[in-house]
């Protein structure tokens, strides 16, 4: 089900302020694409345009095209609610619904889309999602306990389970490990590598080792200049970006000579 994303000439605005300019890239299915770059250069903003979360900010809008296989995400008659059903997202800090049990957290998205799903089917989907998120063995005895009772790393995997339960085509991750300790981070990274068999994954990270460890392709974002909008400087195979980048700014950044 993993689908290809094709972004062409995307300009992202907050009201009249141009935040990110002229992004074009192709995101291959069944791969991990990492987006790196200094803070405030528009990586997360760009990520949020891929599931149309960006437009939740009043007056925020985009110009350009984002194609998911043959469909334009910003085409007429496209419902942003349905886009988000196809493009899942995991956030910087784990955010399970605090009043819901582990089970209900995973089932939350399913219940929205399939009101009349049989209980047994629901059970199976919840179990499969939790297994895919490498969490099943840890929580199978406390499915009815609140999700906020889990550890930080478990909560983040719960959020991943919740996102993949609706079987999206693309999974967006916005610095999913920045709030976690190294051991939990390791578990999530392993999980990401496993998940790329089934999904197209785009991850924003500040951790360049992480980008090297898990991604196939890396895109480097930077501000064009102080006060100018952010832009995609270059995107290439991860090994190339980290060993022999085509742009000096990229080289400065990945080698730590930046800012």
């Amino acid at each position: 089900m993993a689908k290809r994303l094709d972004v062409s000439d995307l300009d992202i605005y907050y009201d009249k302020f141009l935040a990110v300019q002229g992004v074009s890239m192709t995101i291959e299915p069944r791969s991990v694409t990492a987006l790196i770059g200094p803070s405030g250069c528009g990586k997360s903003t760009f990520l949020r345009t891929l599931n149309r979360m960006h437009e939740l900010v009043p007056n925020a809008r985009v110009e350009g095209k984002v194609m998911m296989d043959e469909e334009d995400l910003y085409g007429p008659n496209v419902d942003p609610v349905r886009v988000r059903r196809h493009v899942g997202m995991v956030f910087q800090r784990p955010n399970p619904f605090p009043t819901m049990s582990v089970y209900d957290n995973v089932a939350a998205g399913l219940k929205l889309n399939n009101k009349r799903m049989k209980r047994s089917d629901m059970d199976e989907l919840v179990e499969r999602s939790l297994r895919s998120a490498n969490l099943w063995d840890e929580v199978k005895d406390r499915l009815n306990r609140p999700g906020s009772g889990l550890s930080g790393g478990q909560q983040q995997r719960l959020c991943i389970a919740r996102a993949i339960a609706v079987q999206p085509d693309v999974l967006l991750m916005d610095e999913p490990c920045s709030a976690l300790d190294p051991i939990s981070t390791g578990a999530i990274e392993d999980l990401i590598v496993e998940l790329k068999r089934d999904y197209t994954i785009v991850i924003v990270t500040h951790n360049m080792q992480q980008a090297q460890r898990i991604s196939d392709t890396t895109g480097f974002f930077n501000l064009k200049a102080i006060g100018e909008p952010g832009a995609l400087v270059e995107i290439d195979a991860t090994t190339k970006i980290f060993t022999n980048p085509g742009n000096t700014a990229t080289e400065d950044y990945v080698s730590g000579r930046f800012g």
Partner: protein, 321 residues
């Protein structure tokens, strides 16, 4: 320096404990503490003086009490009238308050949230005497024909048994006025909670492909649940004690409580009864009214303490997150 703030550094603590404080410090700290203690004393005083003044009514013989059937039978129907009007007002105001809080926080444009909230707050600024006058002269006449319709078509429900009042000064009208008065109080508490819904949880819902209403059901309402309960209880406490609006709007002519909401013979509420009778009372009658006031005090105290406990629990809950 209360819970959640940093503990003062040890050096400062040892200094303040070891060395004698300056005179200024002692005076200032003393008067601040004194003011706090005074508040506790006032509250205790309210209870103590009311008990002292209610005492003659408690010990008086039955036929000294107005109505001639003893204190309990005097206050009981009033208490029921109080509970009925306040509960009815709450049933009308609470759902409306939730909807208004949602509109202000999640439907209206963000920039308008504060001004719109202010407009609703203005409802709370209107003095209760004015609500009374308004209820009497504007709202009551409007309810006459609907009440007639209710009595005719739904008369089999005890609430609408009729005969419908021809002035509209009914329990129903009083409850509507009370609902308008407590609406801003409930809305303010709920609005505050809804505004504090963590963005993280809202975004989690959006990212799952929720519509706006589904997002609210998944994130906003569960987060605000105890505030909805607490705010409603605060509103209930206010409605129980509201005096002038009921005293003016309600036509009081019965001594026995009934569930009939649309008739012209109603039993008063405790507060309205005090306002209506107190200026012309003397002797034991005053003590009886104070005794009824004591009952009202206890009931509102319990409701308010419950409300605060519920709201504070939420505060701890959200702090832990």
């Amino acid at each position: 320096m209360r819970k959640g703030q940093t503990v003062p550094p040890t050096s400062e603590r040892t200094r303040t404990r070891g060395a004698p404080l300056s005179l200024g410090d002692r005076l200032f700290a003393g008067s601040a503490t004194g003011a706090g203690v005074l508040i506790l004393l006032v509250l205790a005083g309210v209870a103590a003086f009311l008990v002292a003044e209610a005492w003659p009514a408690l010990t008086a013989s039955e036929d000294e009490i107005p109505g001639g059937e003893g204190l309990v039978l005097y206050i009981w129907p009033l208490l029921l009238g109080t509970l009925l009007s306040a509960t009815l007002a709450l049933l009308m105001a609470a759902p409306l308050a939730v909807a208004i809080a949602l509109f202000v926080t999640h439907y209206a444009p963000r920039r308008l949230a504060a001004p719109l909230g202010y407009i609703i707050d203005l409802l709370a600024a209107v003095p209760s005497i004015i609500y009374g006058l308004w209820g009497f002269s504007v709202l009551a006449p409007q309810t006459v024909s609907p009440s007639g319709w209710l009595a005719e078509n739904l008369g089999w429900i005890p609430f609408f048994a009729g005969p419908a009042s021809s002035t509209g000064r009914t329990m129903l009208t009083a409850a509507i006025v009370l609902a308008v008065m407590i609406l801003p109080i409930i809305t303010a508490v709920i609005r505050e909670a809804f505004l504090q819904t963590p963005r993280l949880h809202e975004e989690a819902s959006w990212a799952l492909g929720a519509t706006r209403w589904e997002m609210i059901r998944l994130s906003v309402l569960p987060f605000g649940r105890s505030s909805m309960i607490g705010g409603s209880m605060l509103g209930l406490g206010r409605a129980l004690g509201e005096t002038m609006a009921v005293a003016i709007v309600l036509s009081v002519s019965a001594d026995a409580f009934s569930f009939n909401l649309i008739s012209s013979s109603n039993v008063a509420t405790i507060a309205a009864n005090i306002a209506l009778k107190f200026p012309e009372s003397s002797g034991v009658a005053v003590n009886v009214l104070i005794a009824s006031g004591l009952v009202l005090f206890v009931v509102t105290l319990l409701v308010n303490m419950g409300a605060r406990a519920v709201i504070n629990r939420r505060r701890e809950f959200s702090g832990a997150n």
